[in-house]
């Protein structure tokens, strides 16, 4: 406990840990919530692009132990397509109908007594395909002569919008120096250790679907699922498992399977369980987008960045699946990054290809966006002969400019970017590092230093995805705004406190932090407080934005927790004030008691006071409702709708990150060794330093993976060739570079506790910081991650390129 009895800010060990450490925590595959469960397995397309000529399920259906077989046609006949924010004629069903559009797309479902038999039956399904030319290369997909995935759209470019803020053309005319970079950003995925899983049950009279799963939200997708199932919201009950084995966003992508399993449960008349296996996960769950992007940056000779042009070509995979195209709009309204540049244009093209549909993945759009901006800053520095740190310092939004309205509409809450930069330079011992680089180069070694900075958005505005629509389309669709969070705190007749956060964590320690907050408000300890984090859409207080994504817990959810706790505290204090015959403002809650301020011996046990609201309603102060059951619903007022010039405040808080990487490349093998990595964060007030540090290191691991190892590779025919964990290379303990973490924390005025959302962290910056260091080491700017052995050796062997 910290000074003054506050739990917030203390490194409180997690409430979650004991159950997890002893094997008692329950995940979705541990659950058998209803009797009579049958097990589903999915037949998946072996082709990237093919017409389905026929499917013969007769042998499978008559196999011993099989209870039913369904095909895409069965599902399509019983559901409506799942919509997205992009209004194009694409009928997206959770199972292929008539045509397969990526290798791994579900083609048929078998329900059997166990998974082994279900897979046996998959072997017995006969599908006749007519292969079609695959569309894998994103740029080629945009050409008029490309084969089409969705004929009704008439193009593989399913979305194209351009945006202008300020006067970018004028800025580029006035520039002393313009740098342009083109690159390919790889497709990779966070691959949580627990895969997707769900149990779906349909019950008639009244018709109701109940689904237990490790879905994580956003619960705006609940509305889309209801649309596909053609039921009102109260007839689709989603219940999340008590524990989720990691997500990093990707478990959002389970929702089409929930529609599929719900429908299959209804059509077959039995509850169904499906646990995605690792092979399914690696070819057919979801991933971040691969992109073919370019950026142009206009500089004055002194290093002032006066204009930016982004050209984004985003491979969304075979379907545009909600909440896409959000990945390209999440960072949009912060397109200036940490810099004061006011003239920006953005050209977004979303392209369908015969790859797995994309979705939420750690950093969601951030790694790609900051790759553009921060590669451009560094290339600009080199072109102008400036130091890579100083060019950034020169362009930072100054600390007295906050709150700062970004050109594309974001409202940056607080920051001191220069202090963050200085901290990073200090921790890296930058001068010595540069001197070391000079020495290394004299010895003929390939040594490079790279930096990157980011603003880290948190607490998404549900409306930012509507930037995909024109202002006119938005007006027709009706207003959208906000990002609700909810929390319920109840005290039962024994006086025990239960908090429901509806925040579906997957390892982020929400229960611990919620308990810290409530403990402070009620004068209790975190051990006194039980926290339920799961969602049950029939019994929880929830809304569209509920769930776990976009770092929203420590920016938005804590506001709801704090508000509910305040109301509970007020009520308990009022009851105690009556008992102790003092004014309510004279009562404080501390040390498990309600007591008179300054007279601590005049106290009542908290539990007894709270319990009295149940046991003796007639004895409560006049007008007070009995019991304690407080639900707070908050939506940050900053999150308004997009305006008619496409400006929107897309997030509540904007943290700051400054990373510095030093690498050495072995010219003999192409191995990139990260010699030093420093990361400085502004997360506002730290709620639990243990958890904050864990998130930072974890995000770093994802960023390192994206930079050095991980890629979902497809061959020219569209076959996924990284479909096992021996081919998709997750970082292991032996590959992790040492990370030095620093903090420069400026409290957020937008949140209840001054904290900012965090968690994407270095997953957004490690790819570009390491890329900048590799570019510096190799003396060339034409480099694409991941920096795997052969690729880097090729680059090193070719010698200096564009740089």
């Amino acid at each position: 406990m910290t000074e003054g009895g506050r739990w917030i800010g203390a490194p409180v060990p997690r409430k979650e840990d004991e159950a997890l450490l002893t094997g008692r925590a329950r995940f979705i595959d541990d659950m058998e919530p209803v009797p009579g469960i049958r097990h589903a397995a999915l037949l998946r397309s072996p082709h990237a692009h093919a017409e389905i000529l026929s499917i013969d399920v007769s042998k499978a259906a008559s196999h011993l132990g099989v209870y039913g077989v369904l095909t895409g046609a069965d599902i399509a006949a019983a559901t409506r397509p799942i919509p997205s924010a992009v209004r194009v004629p694409i009928d997206y069903y959770p199972m292929a109908v008539g045509k397969v559009r990526y290798a791994g797309e579900p083609v048929a479902l078998v329900a059997a007594g166990d998974r082994y038999v279900a897979e046996d039956a998959l072997d017995l399904i006969e599908v006749e395909y007519r292969p079609l030319p695959p569309v894998i290369d994103v740029k080629a997909a945009t050409r008029d002569d490309s084969p089409l995935l969705h004929e009704a759209v008439g193009s593989n470019v399913v979305h194209h919008r351009t945006f202008r803020y300020g006067d970018p053309d004028k800025a580029f005319e006035e520039a002393d120096r313009v740098v342009r970079l083109d690159w390919t950003f790889p497709r990779y995925s966070s691959t949580p250790m627990e895969t997707y899983g769900a149990v779906a049950q349909f019950e008639p009279a009244p018709d109701r679907y109940t689904i237990w799963s490790n879905f994580q939200g956003p619960f705006i997708l609940h509305a889309l699922m209801c649309g596909a199932l053609e039921v009102p919201g109260n007839r689709l009950r989603l219940i999340t498992a008590p524990q989720s084995g990691g997500s990093f966003g990707i478990k959002q992508g389970i929702f089409p399977y929930l529609v599929l399993l719900a429908t299959a449960s209804r059509l077959l008349g039995m509850p169904l369980k499906w646990i995605e296996d690792r092979l399914e996960h690696l070819v057919a769950s979801s991933s971040a987008s691969n992109r073919e992007d370019a950026v142009e940056a206009a500089f004055k000779d002194d290093g002032t960045l006066i204009g930016l042009r982004f050209f984004n070509t985003v491979d969304v995979g075979a379907y545009i699946r909600a909440p896409e195209p959000a990945s390209v709009y999440r960072m949009h309204s912060a397109s200036n990054g940490a810099y004061g540049v006011g003239n920006i244009s953005v050209d977004n093209r979303l392209v369908t290809t015969n790859r797995l549909p994309i979705g939420l993945n750690r950093g969601y759009g951030g790694p790609q966006f900051f790759f553009a901006l921060e590669r451009a800053m560094e290339a600009g520095a080199r072109a102008l002969g400036l130091d890579v740190a100083e060019i950034r310092r020169h362009n930072f939004i100054p600390k007295d400019a906050f709150p700062y309205r970004a050109p594309a509409g974001s409202l940056y809450d607080a920051g001191d970017y220069e202090a963050g930069l200085d901290k990073a330079l200090d921790l890296a011992d930058y001068a010595a590092l540069c001197a070391g680089r000079d020495r290394a180069r004299k010895e003929g070694r390939l040594f490079g230093i790279g930096m990157a900075t980011a603003v880290e958005p948190s607490g998404s505005n549900m409306a930012y995805v509507t930037l995909a629509q024109t202002p006119e389309e938005r007006a027709r669709a009706g207003g959208r705004s906000g990002g609700l969070a909810t929390c319920t705190i109840s005290i039962d007749p024994s006086g025990a406190v239960t908090v429901k956060t509806v925040s579906t964590p997957a390892g982020q320690g929400h229960a611990t932090v919620a308990a810290q907050i409530v403990a402070d408000a009620l004068g209790l300890t975190p051990d006194d407080i039980d926290v339920m984090t799961e969602v049950d859409t029939l019994t929880s207080a929830w809304s569209l934005a509920s769930g776990n994504y976009a770092n929203r817990f420590s920016s938005v959810v804590i506001g709801a927790i704090g508000e509910a706790a305040r109301r509970v505290a007020d009520k308990v204090r009022a009851v105690a004030a009556e008992d102790l015959e003092v004014a309510v403002q004279d009562i404080e809650l501390a040390d498990g008691t309600a007591r008179i301020v300054g007279v601590p011996e005049r106290s009542l046990p908290f539990r007894r006071v709270a319990a009295r609201t149940h046991w003796h309603p007639a004895g409560l102060p006049d007008g007070m409702a009995p019991g304690v059951f407080e639900t707070a619903i908050v939506s940050p007022p900053e999150l308004g709708p997009p305006d008619d010039r496409d400006r929107v405040a897309s997030a509540v808080t904007f943290g700051f990150i400054c990373d510095l990487a030093a690498v050495e490349i072995d010219p003999g093998t192409g191995k990139v060794e990260v010699r030093k990595y420093v990361s400085v964060h502004d997360v506002g007030n730290v709620l639990n330093p243990l958890i904050v540090e864990g998130q930072i290191v974890g995000g770093f691991a994802h960023g390192v993976g994206g930079a050095l190892l991980e890629e979902m590779v497809y061959d020219a025919d569209g076959n996924p060739i990284s479909g096992t964990l021996t081919d998709y290379l997750c970082v292991t303990a032996s590959e992790m570079p040492r990370l030095t973490i620093g903090h420069v924390d400026t409290p957020s005025p937008h949140t209840a506790l001054g904290s900012k959302g965090m968690g994407d962290g270095c997953s957004m910056l490690a790819p570009v910081a390491i890329a900048n260091a590799v570019a510096d080491a190799l003396g060339r700017e034409d480099i694409d991650p991941p920096f795997t052995l052969n690729r880097v050796w090729d680059l090193a062997a070719e010698g200096g390129g564009a740089g």
Binding site: E16, R24, G246, G507, T726
Partner: protein
């Protein structure tokens, strides 16, 4: 010689965490599935079923091994240790305690396998270097922690023991 026809159910008896269990398995039933779905010991997790991620690691006759790469019938008669057996009378083992102190777990899905490996590793190598710890850990994938807390926790216990 023992022969089990395809599809036949065979009785498998094992000692798990010191307690005798008996259940049925087909020839092809993976030990991981047997532990979880037949014996209802859900503490052991399944992450990849091809021997890479290490989540399903259990101790068999003194050694940490992948339970997804063993058939249940092969374990007949074996002494098996799983995560459920690491704490004694509700008291966490020093390693479990160190994991909590060092925030060595987030989602906790990979944790049971890592605890089993690290426990046996420390039995055979009580005073490892950090590189040795990382080498042992490279047989597990954790996507949450970046491994830092796990390495510290194992080194804490090694340091205390030596």
């Amino acid at each position: 010689m023992l022969r089990i026809e395809p599809g036949a159910r065979h009785r498998v008896t094992v000692t798990v965490n010191g307690r005798l269990y008996s259940g049925f398995a087909e020839a092809r039933t993976l030990l991981s599935d047997f532990l979880r779905h037949e014996l209802k010991l859900f503490g052991t997790h399944v992450g990849c079923e091809h021997g890479v991620c290490g989540a399903c690691t259990v101790n068999i006759d003194g050694r940490a091994v992948r339970s997804c790469l063993l058939f249940a019938v092969q374990a007949d008669g074996a002494e098996i240790g799983t995560v459920e057996g690491l704490a004694t009378d509700g008291v966490l083992s020093p390693l479990q305690e160190a994991f909590r102190r060092r925030h060595a777990l987030q989602c906790g899905f990979c944790t049971p396998g890592i605890l089993i490996s690290a426990t046996q590793f420390l039995e055979t190598n009580p005073d490892p270097t950090e590189d040795e710890v990382r080498e042992m850990l490279s047989g597990h994938i954790c996507r949450c922690t970046g491994y830092e807390g796990i390495v510290r926790a194992i080194l804490d216990v090694a340091g205390d023991a030596s």
